[in-house]
Amino acid sequence: MKLDSMYQDVILDHYKHPHGRGLRDGDAEVHHVNPTCGDEITLRVRLSGETIEDVSYEGQGCSISQASASVLNELLVGKDLGEARRIQETFLELMQSKGRIEPDDAMEEVLEDAVAFAGVSKYPARVKCALLSWMAWKDATAQALGEGSENTARKTA
């Protein structure tokens, strides 16, 4: 069934048993929303020099967005920023591939569990779910480094 390509066991596992969920101390906090479906995430990053000490998060959303945050936590915590950025970029590339990238060994080495999201990239409506926490992480990291928010200007009514 085509669905199985989206809902890989790895993803369902992360969804049911999320890693590192909950908000802990951080150097910066962001709140991101997926306007097309209402998924939300609050995410904090704690750095120690170039090392990611912690990524903690709280949010609501579908299995894809929840699992993606869990995978992110597992992958990035403990990494140094350069490596984390490479992982984030590789994940972004995979998710924007519209199902056209078949992850090879090299990609699998970088992304580990996150390669399971390859199937999601075929479902445009769900790609944003998978990317939500990753965009939040990128934004929070920029803020923690004092680079200001990369978030586009959004005004409150």
Partner: protein, 419 residues
């Protein structure tokens, strides 16, 4: 097995009018389209009229003395007559064509922002809406409140998905300039008690705006019986094309209130120094209107009328009653909104245990079942009921009990998948 319920339409015949209902999805699965509150499908009768318009009569309206321009104008203005009759408007000149219900509602909010007394909304006045409004009937009023300094107030909701009018005299007061509310909720399905609200609004001299986007497609709509001042709805949900909406307004208000968009067609005479405006409805129709779309909406109105709005309402009532009963058999399913079919439209929202609606929708889709998931442009309702989102099945004149059964089976499959 064919399920027979009292009041059903002859859906076998009706479904033949809708080419898309033959569509197969996901390797040959029959399409089961239960997303009618988002948009309806279009019958052949409407598509044929659209084609004929573009192939035979296409021209810009008004100002033309050539044959095509006269034909296009007659067709466009003829559509206005049809819509006026459909909603029992006292005058055809009270029917304004917009691009969608959202524009209609923004039009009213903007007229009031720029109006003279006694209509003007300013920092001393109040605007009243409800917690079950579609974002298109919230944000325009938030913007108006923010820009005029007026106070925005609203009616809350009861636990069973109805308007809480217990404090109506505190919500609608002498300061209230306008009360805007939805006739049928697109998320809860609730049909609201117009009379009570109108009576109170009239007491304090407030204008009444009714968002009939989910009513016009599904039941007889009589703007005179409603006693409202403005009624908004949208063509694409009622078998019409995209890109066309309607605002009905009482004639004297349309005469008194200032225009919104400026441009061609809405003027009487223009000089560089000043302009005067045409009488309504043209005053509110700047630029080339959605001509073919209005003509298509006229054809949709003809189609719906030929089947009969009473009959459509009866059909949907039967389907909704059946759907509510069958859905309640699904373990862990909680209906968000009234759990009876009384005073209720044909949109049924629900949650399914803690399976996120996105996941519910995805697995249903794989079986060919199209539902909508999310907050349905009514996020305050989700906040009110403490849920992130809902799954919504919504029915129309071509929906069948068999499709309800398929949905129920589909939901069982969802439960197994995430079980």
């Amino acid at each position: 097995m064919t399920i027979l319920l009292p009041g059903l339409l002859d859906t076998d015949a009706i479904r033949k009018d809708f080419p898309i209902l033959d569509r197969r999805v996901h390797d040959g699965k029959k399409l089961i389209y239960l997303d009618n509150a988002a948009t309806s499908q279009k019958p052949r009768q409407v598509l044929d009229v659209l084609n004929e318009h573009y192939e035979q009569h296409n021209a810009n309206v008004h100002r033309g003395v050539h044959v095509l321009a006269e034909e296009a104008t007659a067709l466009y203005e003829g559509a206005r007559d049809k819509v006026a009759a459909f909603i029992n408007a006292p005058s055809r000149d009270e029917v304004i064509f917009t691009k969608n219900a959202s524009e209609s509602l923004n039009l009213v909010a903007n007229m009031l922002a720029w109006a003279d007394e006694p209509y003007r909304v300013d920092h001393d006045t109040e605007i009243v809406i409800t917690e079950m409004e579609h974002h298109s009937n919230i944000v325009p009023w938030q913007l108006l409140a923010q820009r005029s300094g007026a106070k925005l107030k609203w009616f809350g909701l009861t636990d069973d998905g109805r308007l809480d009018l217990s404090n109506i005299d505190e919500v609608i007061t002498e300061k209230t300039k306008v009360v805007s509310f939805v006739l049928v909720s697109n998320i809860l399905g609730t049909v609201n008690p117009v009379e009570a609200i109108v009576r109170r609004a009239q007491e304090v001299g407030a204008l009444v705006v009714v968002d009939a986007s989910q009513a016009a497609p599904h039941m007889p709509l009589d703007v005179q019986a409603l006693q409202a001042d403005f009624v908004a709805f949208t063509g694409h949900k009622m078998c019409g094309p995209d890109g066309i909406g309607v605002l009905w307004g009482r004639q004297e208000l349309l005469e008194d209130l200032p225009p919104f968009l400026g441009g061609g067609e809405m003027i009487e005479t223009v000089s560089m120094h000043s302009s005067t405006y045409a009488p309504a409805p043209h005053k509110f129709e700047a630029g080339t209107p959605p001509i073919a779309q209005a003509v298509g909406l006229g054809a949709a109105v003809d189609y719906l009328t030929s089947i009969g709005m009473e009959n459509i309402a009866r059909h949907e009532h039967a389907i909704t009653e059946y759907a509510i009963r069958r859905l309640q058999e699904v373990p862990d399913l909680r209906i968000i909104g009234p759990t009876t079919a009384e005073d209720r439209g044909a949109a049924v929202s629900f949650t399914l245990g803690d399976i996120h609606p996105h996941d519910v929708g995805q697995v249903l889709d794989e079986q060919g079942i199209a539902v909508r998931v999310g907050h349905h442009c009514a996020r305050p309702v989700c906040l009110r009921y403490g849920i992130p989102a809902t799954t919504r099945a919504s029915f129309y004149l071509y929906s069948t009990p068999g499709e309800v059964d398929a949905l129920v089976e589909g939901l069982e499959h969802v439960r197994n998948f995430f079980g």
